[in-house]
Symmetry: C2
Subunit: 362 residues, 2 copies
């Protein structure tokens, strides 16, 4: 058996990524893109990061519309390793269904859930953190990974660290004192200054049955429905649409933390969720051939005179003269020009287009 004994990797491949419009689209979301120019899609890079830990014990949960694209990106996966959600119902149903499927295959299964559209640059640190998390999960904890903040980010929720745990094989482990919502800028600075907060990257490691039992405490009917679907796929059609749209954080992690059942492995691993173009820009180096410009795409497609910008090319030549600190994203049918400090507002364009009924552009 390859990797960590009994460890299953679950990859929820969903999310609309509207803050990365016009790159990310409804029909072609963020995880199907090679946003950083690594040569791989984010989905494939996520798979490659997890394969050494989980071998062929990998389960992808994605929207029915993306099934073919996911299989195309991950042709090595067995047919039953990709599960299609008929409609998006947020992270709890997606991960809960994976847990229900996995406990049937392996009653001792420990699953780790990792979004298909995040990046991790320090794979060794990631591996070490997951190994510790699996040890903690086997004790019955819900385990999360707490990312060491590299800036006072306002785009992530935070985890407040509690007491250190003395667990063999998990020397970094701490209790989770609290999950806190995305802070404002001042609060974020305070969090980072204390040293007692970590970013909540939405990574959870937990026994499959443990997760479903934690879920049953507040949402017993959801646990029941997910187990029914896992046993009889034909029930997906009638039961799935009735499931409550809820994030795993609210459904399970926060209540479990209040009950003292959540532990955290703090780690620094070069993680980013590429939440918007500023975040994406931070992951890219300035071009060697186009001074002052970060280019996503062929550098030959950009000519710059006295300009600084992050430019995603879309197949045409892009000429910049005397412009500073722009974000330019070109695609076949849509062009975005904004500034890093306004990058969060990109989703408003998608909202406007949706309100106008121009869905072909979203």
């Amino acid at each position: 058996m390859t990797g960590i004994d009994g460890f299953w990797a679950v990859i929820p491949a969903g999310g609309s990524g509207t803050r990365l419009w016009p790159l990310s689209r409804r029909d072609y979301p963020k995880f199907l893109h090679d946003l950083t120019g690594s040569g791989q899609t984010l989905l494939r890079a996520t798979y490659d990061r997890l394969e050494p830990l989980a071998g062929d014990r990998i389960l992808v949960v994605t929207g029915a519309a993306h099934l073919d694209a996911v299989r195309g990106q991950l042709p090595m996966l067995a047919r039953d390793a990709v599960v299609a959600e008929p409609s998006p119902r947020d992270s709890m149903p997606a991960i809960g269904l994976a847990a229900a499927i996995l406990e049937r295959r392996d009653p001792e299964a420990v699953l780790g859930s990792f979004a298909a559209d995040h990046v991790v640059t320090d794979t060794e640190a990631f591996d070490r953190a997951i190994a510790e998390a699996v040890v903690l999960a086997r004790r019955g904890d819900l385990v999360t990974i707490g990312i060491e903040p590299t800036r006072p980010a306002t785009g992530f929720g935070y985890i407040r660290l509690g007491e250190a745990l003395s667990v063999e094989g998990a020397p970094s482990a701490r209790r989770v004192a609290d999950f806190v919502e995305k802070p404002d800028a001042d609060t974020a600075k305070d969090y980072v200054a204390t040293g007692e907060y970590r970013w909540n990257a939405g990574m959870f490691v937990v026994g499959a049955t443990t997760l479903l039992e934690m879920l049953a405490e507040e949402h017993p009917e959801m646990t029941s429905h997910l187990r029914t679907i896992a046993g009889d796929e034909s029930r997906m059609r009638d039961l799935w649409p009735a499931l409550r749209k809820i994030a795993i954080d609210h459904a399970v992690a926060e209540p479990a933390a209040r009950a003292g059942r959540v532990s955290v492995v703090p780690a620094a691993m070069g993680w980013d969720d590429i939440g918007d173009f500023t975040s994406l820009s931070d992951l890219i180096e300035v071009s060697e051939t186009v001074p002052g410009v970060k280019v996503i795409g062929p550098a030959d497609d950009v000519i710059s005179i006295d300009s600084t910008a992050t430019v995603a090319t879309g197949g045409r030549l892009i000429a910049l003269i005397g412009v500073d600190d722009l974000v330019v994203v070109d695609t076949q049918d849509a062009l975005l020009i904004t500034r890093p400090e306004r990058a969060q507002e990109v989703k408003k364009i998608v909202e406007t287009l949706t309100a106008q009924g121009r869905l072909e552009l979203t």
Copy 2:
């Protein structure tokens, strides 16, 4: 006979317009575009402005490569009303050839030469100025139109006004004291402050034979060659390439001014040469539906949040968020982003592309 008796309009349709790249291209230059969104190309608008003055006495001189496009824009022109230059040799050979052709058709012909890619918004003022200019031309003068400056422009040459002339039918007429080159910003301010300078719009009105005789004084072989070609089109091939590349200003207007033979009709007529995107932007109103943005193209193709810009659309959606004072020009294969104060440098992009051998983009 329609219009002004014996008056012929000559339209040199040439120029590369590299400062309007990527709209203006080698194969599709400025005069073939409807830059201002008037519904007409600049060439057709020029024709429409001249037709009331010249009727069917209109001659277009253009590059061989643009012959079909010119005929397509002006289908009403007779076959011999469009003359093709085998290669560009600047304005003197083009206008001189027109003069040589016209003096054969009408020995008393007075021609007026008007670039195919300028705009005039006050047609009545234009008509009045030309009527005065024809009167002066009949006296043997080379006549130019002096545009009243509306700003201390550095992109135009200036005409220094001399003594008032007392000519019946030409009450505004002044002698030209001097033609002066494009000034720097301070000099331009001084020119405008004195009230004694007018923009040189390159409009000349002159007897066809007068022009050729003035040309013969400094360039007798050019006059001779042009008359030979006008009499025998088959000589175009061997004689044209040998003609010196020279502007009418240097070849004739400046020497004639020194000899006191050039008069000027000062006028205000909403003229512009649309020399760059700043000049183009000045001709366009802010969109009623896209606040703060001047749109060249369908306004529906632009969505703006807190932005000011001049945007030429190219068939795709353009979304702006929090950007100020940009010039954005989108086309199928190239996108330009610059600022108004850098608009003159757009030609550097064309130079770079040419140096790179990427002529398909120029």
